[in-house]
């Protein structure tokens, strides 16, 4: 049977087209002379035909559900539903009453809609009793945030004051190279400039005398020769008034004006004129680039995008990992020069030309304040990660973080760098994330203090929800909890935005969604998938349960 054994494996496929011509011929020749194999071939062919899966009657219920989902019945409001549950949303801006375009924003509390510009001009939500200053941006492009005006000549934002951008390890850092003019073609509103001397002063002995407790490296004060610990007096416009009060008001100095610093050095009094500069700020681009490896160094094809932070500026500009950056701000990206993203500030724009596969694309990158600032409300100073600024009424100020504290760990990660902190913050999920923070007071002796910060992060988490579904949830004022694994058959409402569509329709946190638009028992993924694919303006009929009792509810969007 040796000749047979080599053929047995292929006998079942003999009558099909799958076998190659050579194989088929050799098997045909063998079958001619071997009767048992002929018999076996017939048996195997029969076996193969038995592998058929006969049609079964598919559940007819699904058919009716599909038909219902396809053709939503035109309106007649059924009697069993409370007509007050029907709500619709205004299409006009809450401030100027003009038509809303794509660039609209929602008030984070009441979901009222505004043009982005209008909301900025208004400063807070105009709905009576709401007056929230927080804003949700369901669409992609977010404008730079407004800065609250800082109060004190605060710890002088040492954040790499005018310092160094080097492409170390492929990561862009700040550098002293000024941004090319072409990088600032911005029409977007710029964040207001803050006067900056690069020094933190506390009140010293005697009238108008201060002590420098911190001097930013390369800052204006440091360039004038001031060092930490110096006793210093200030003269200049506004300085007198400032010196009478406990704190300096930064507004008292105009950018470009000159301030006279007097301090002692080597027994001599030094008098230096220092020009007040706009405060340098780290712009956050949400982008990591790297030079292509030396292996393909033959022809330089631009910087390679290695990482794109989710929801960051680069993400919003549509950059993808693997893109090659060819031109930035109109100039060719070269092998030696870092990208001209240095010394830029939130609100700056850079036009990029990039290659993706065979295509050449163009996009505009708008810098933002980093997640440290936007999410925690604090700024950190490298390399020690000392807190250099705390926004009032921010999550950071709520847990008592103060200027000068050292950030010790975040989410259990010690050994932090600014880069790492921003990365961790950028990856916190949707809704209310908790960041656990440990910090040490400005006197280094004590053990670190551990605190938890509750953060509200209006960005979606890609692992749990599609962007459309998330946008839909924002529009409806819903927050859903389900099991992404899809095993649980229940989708629970974890939060309902006050005054939102879902709220007005009577939904409450803790309600369970049993089905919608005629579907029963959706798994989380199925529910989100269907929510995702629902056409805009579609009416959604939810079947919900509260405390065991089922009820129907209608949501009408835009």
């Amino acid at each position: 049977m040796n000749a047979c054994e080599s053929k047995v494996d292929f006998l079942m496929a003999y009558r099909t087209e799958a076998l190659g011509e050579d194989k088929r011929r050799s098997i045909a020749a063998h079958l001619e002379e071997c009767a048992p194999c002929r018999g076996l071939e017939a048996r195997l062919a029969e076996s193969l035909s038995l592998a058929d899966a006969p049609p079964r009657r598919a559940p007819p219920k699904l058919l009716s559900q599909l038909a219902a989902a396809e053709k939503p019945k035109p309106v007649p409001p059924p009697e069993d539903l409370d007509p007050s549950m029907r709500v619709s949303v205004a299409r006009s801006c809450g401030y100027c009453r003009g038509d809303l375009g794509e660039a609209r924003v929602h008030c984070a509390e009441c979901l009222a809609r505004y043009h982005e510009d209008c909301f900025q001009e208004l400063g807070r939500c105009g709905v009576m009793g709401c007056e929230s200053t927080r804003v949700l941006k369901p669409a992609a492009a977010a404008a730079p945030r407004r800065r609250s005006r800082p109060g004190a000549l605060r710890v002088a934002l040492g954040i790499l004051a005018g310092s160094v951008i080097a492409a170390t390890g492929g990561k862009l850092l700040l550098s002293s190279k000024p941004a090319p003019k072409a990088a600032r073609v911005s029409t977007a509103p710029r964040v207001a400039d803050t006067p900056y001397l690069g020094v933190t002063l506390v009140r010293g002995e005697g009238f108008g005398s201060y002590r420098a407790v911190w001097v930013a490296p390369n800052g204006p004060a440091a360039r004038a020769g001031l060092r930490k610990g110096d006793a210093v007096r200030l003269f200049g416009s506004g300085a007198l008034r400032a010196s009478n009060s406990e704190r300096y008001e930064l507004e008292d100095f105009a950018i470009g004006s000159e301030v006279e610093l007097r301090f002692q050095r080597d027994g001599r009094v030094v008098i230096e004129l220092v020009t007040v500069e706009p405060e340098p700020r780290i712009a956050y681009w949400g982008l990591t680039t790297a030079f292509p490896s030396s292996a393909d160094a033959g022809e330089f094809e631009g910087l390679e995008v290695k990482e794109v932070d989710f929801g960051g500026p680069a993400y919003k500009a549509g950059l993808k990992v693997g893109d090659r950056l060819l031109r930035a701000a109109g100039e060719r990206v070269s092998r030696r020069e870092p990208l001209p993203l240095d010394a830029s500030r939130p609100g700056d724009e850079v036009s990029l030309v990039l290659r993706r596969g065979q295509r050449t694309l163009e996009t505009l990158l708008v810098a933002e304040a980093g997640p440290c600032r936007t999410r925690l409300g604090l700024e950190l100073d490298e390399p020690e990660l000392r807190v250099s600024w705390v926004q009032p009424d921010s999550p950071a100020s709520e847990i008592g973080l103060k200027v000068g504290d050292r950030l010790y760990s975040l989410q259990g990660n010690a050994n932090l760098s600014l880069d790492r902190v921003e990365r961790i913050l950028a990856r916190l999920g949707l809704g209310r994330a908790i960041a656990s923070v440990a910090f040490q007071g400005s006197v280094d002796s004590g053990p670190p203090t551990f605190r938890q910060i509750g953060l509200t992060i209006p960005e979606w988490d890609p692992s749990s929800m599609g962007p459309n579904a998330y946008r839909r949830c924002i529009e409806l004022g819903l927050e859903l909890l389900g099991d992404p694994g899809g095993q649980r058959r229940v989708v629970e409402i974890t939060d309902v935005t006050k005054g939102g569509i879902a709220d007005r329709a009577g939904l409450r946190a803790g309600d369970r969604i049993l089905g919608f638009n005629g579907w029963r028992g959706p798994r989380y993924q199925t529910a989100l998938g269907a929510l995702d694919s629902l056409p805009r303006g579609e009416e959604i009929t939810l079947k919900c349960s509260r405390a065991g009792a089922a009820f129907d509810c209608r949501l009408v969007g835009e």
């Binding site: 006998l11 799958a18 195997l44 076996s47 592998a51 598919a58 699904l62 599909l66 396809e70 694919s533």
Partner: protein, 201 residues
Amino acid sequence: MTKTMNERSIGAARSREPGAESAAEEAVSCSELYERFGDEIFGFLIGLLRRRAWAEDVLQETFVKVLGKAEGLAEVENPRAWLFAIARRAAIDLLRRERGQPATRRELEESSARLAAAVDPDRGWRGLAARERRQIVHEELGALSPEQRSILMLFTRGLSFREIARVLDCTHPTAKSRFVKATTALTRGLWKRRIFKEGDL
């Protein structure tokens, strides 16, 4: 793809719906597709998943996906192969998710042990009733990987190799070679049961 003639010669009972060509021309809706192909897909899913509840879940998932693509339906060239592709992917995803759950595996083992007990393999192929032959083949199919099982089932359902390639999202020759590998695996499974006796052949 309008070629719908089968490129093979076995598999006598082929219930071939006239859907593939005509559906390409007319505008189709999700529920029409369900009416036309739902039974077939459901049978395929039951054979592949071997559990009615799962098959119902995946069938629903399949058509929810179709619902989500309602605008593009008219452009689908071969709705039948397209539906099989969606259903197969969803089913294999489910099987991957469920793999390693002890209850499931035990259930399968129990049921196959029960099936094995019912058939007396000593009788040989000729001694088996048609129903028993089918049962043995399906038991051995169950021992194959879901990928291989689905290829054999698609073939016997009457899909051409070009259609199978479309379902598997691979090239035509790759579909053929995967099919040959699957038949080899099935042959070896059947061979081990010693039902093909000298006298039968």
